[in-house]
Amino acid sequence: MIDLTDEQIVELATQDDPEAFGEIIRRWDRKIFGLCFGMLGREDDARDATQEAFIAAYRNLKNFRGEAKVSSWLHRIAVNQCLTIKRRQKSRAEDFIDDENGEEERTFVASPLLSPSLTTEQAERLRLVRQAVGALPTDLRQVIVMKEFEEMTFQEISETLELPLSTVKSRLYTALKQLKMRLERTPVEVV
């Protein structure tokens, strides 16, 4: 099964051996988890989103069309799951902070698994980065997370999101510019 492509494994799981889908999970669980973490900013939310994404993918195996890559198909499902969780959390009226422009932002809870060797300054900077990424619009956040957490190429992001290659590059450029503005606006305060 190691020699099979993702598409061959999906076909095998659809027809003869549903548990062959486990190989798909083994190949893509880390990257999908990274994508969900980058989208949601919280480890527990990312775990839930990753689990739901793979379950949804398994249930919709028969709907997988061979013209798209399995990775693109999984990414699309994972992004949808992340957006669903974000909408669910937003409807629960969790903590929001307003930025200077009046936009509502989610506070990203610092991960308890941060390395203890990090200084307070470093931890605070990471918190700000996490917050700045969370404040990005969804379409910009997607491309940043896919590039940084999943290490996808422009071409892969283009296929996953079904966008032209130039649009992907343009969105990355815009996302980095906004991150720069937010990080420059909020200096790191060390208590």
Partner: protein, 238 residues
């Protein structure tokens, strides 16, 4: 190179520029301070995200994904059954069992009714009346002989009287009803055991002779007849 090309900066930052594009960009940075400043700012923003990913996420273990294959196997089934099961929910099995029982019950009732109709049709024939088997033909055993002898004549005279009496009995006896006749016909489709004349004559066991009028000639009849009496009276009165 155009200073306003942000795509070139991004491609260079993420190391996805072609060799020729990279050379051109590097050459442009040497000539354009504005693009160099912008490149530096975007690189720092990108590095912050990279650092966040490395510090906050890299050490987090990958969660174990559990797929309930038995419960979610319906996703691989035909859409129709999946929709049926989704509609019935947890009552899919009981509903299916109830449908099977209902179909079996309807089939059983149909069979019972069909057989009942057949039996009713078979029983529409009226009960057979126990009518004794009455031979239509008189059971006169002896066939009147044609011999011209006085002792035969007297014997024939006796036979004629007996024949008349027998005929009277037949007339007064209850006739078999049409229904009974039909019942007998239905009940016993086999022909009645009427012995044929030829067989009767040839049998040695019971030489039952029956009168056969077609074989009886008037000229051979030597018995006393009423017309003969009237003739005698007429002749004597003169």
């Amino acid at each position: 190179m155009d200073c306003g090309s942000g795509e070139s900066i991004v491609a260079y930052i993420y190391d996805e520029a072609t060799p020729s594009e990279r050379r051109n960009f590097e050459a442009h940075l040497l000539e354009c301070a504005e693009c160099t400043d912008e490149f530096a700012e975007l690189s720092n923003a990108r590095f912050s995200v990279f650092e966040w990913q490395k510090e906050a996420f890299a050490e987090i273990p990958t969660p174990e994904i559990v797929i309930p294959y038995e419960k979610t196997r319906s996703g691989s089934e035909s859409g129709f059954w999946e929709a049926v099961k989704a509609y019935l929910g947890g009552f899919a099995v009981p509903a299916l069992a109830a449908a099977i029982l209902l179909a079996a019950g309807i089939g059983f009732i149909a069979i019972v009714l069909t057989r009942g109709d057949q039996q009713l049709a078979a029983n529409t024939v009226e009960p057979v009346v126990n009518v004794p088997q009455i031979a239509v033909q008189p059971s006169i055993t002896e066939v009147p002989q044609v011999a011209n002898r006085p002792e035969v004549a007297s014997e024939q005279r006796t036979n004629s009287v007996e024949r008349e009496e027998k005929n009277k009995e037949i007339e007064t006896s209850p006739r078999p009803s049409r229904v009974a006749t039909q019942a007998k016909a239905i009940k016993s489709p086999t022909p009645k055991p009427v012995v044929a004349r030829s067989e009767n004559r040839n049998t040695q066991e019971t030489p039952r002779k029956k009168p056969v009028l077609s074989d009886f000639e008037e000229s051979d009849d030597k018995s006393l007849r009423l017309t003969d009496l009237f003739d005698d009276i007429g002749a004597g009165g003169r």
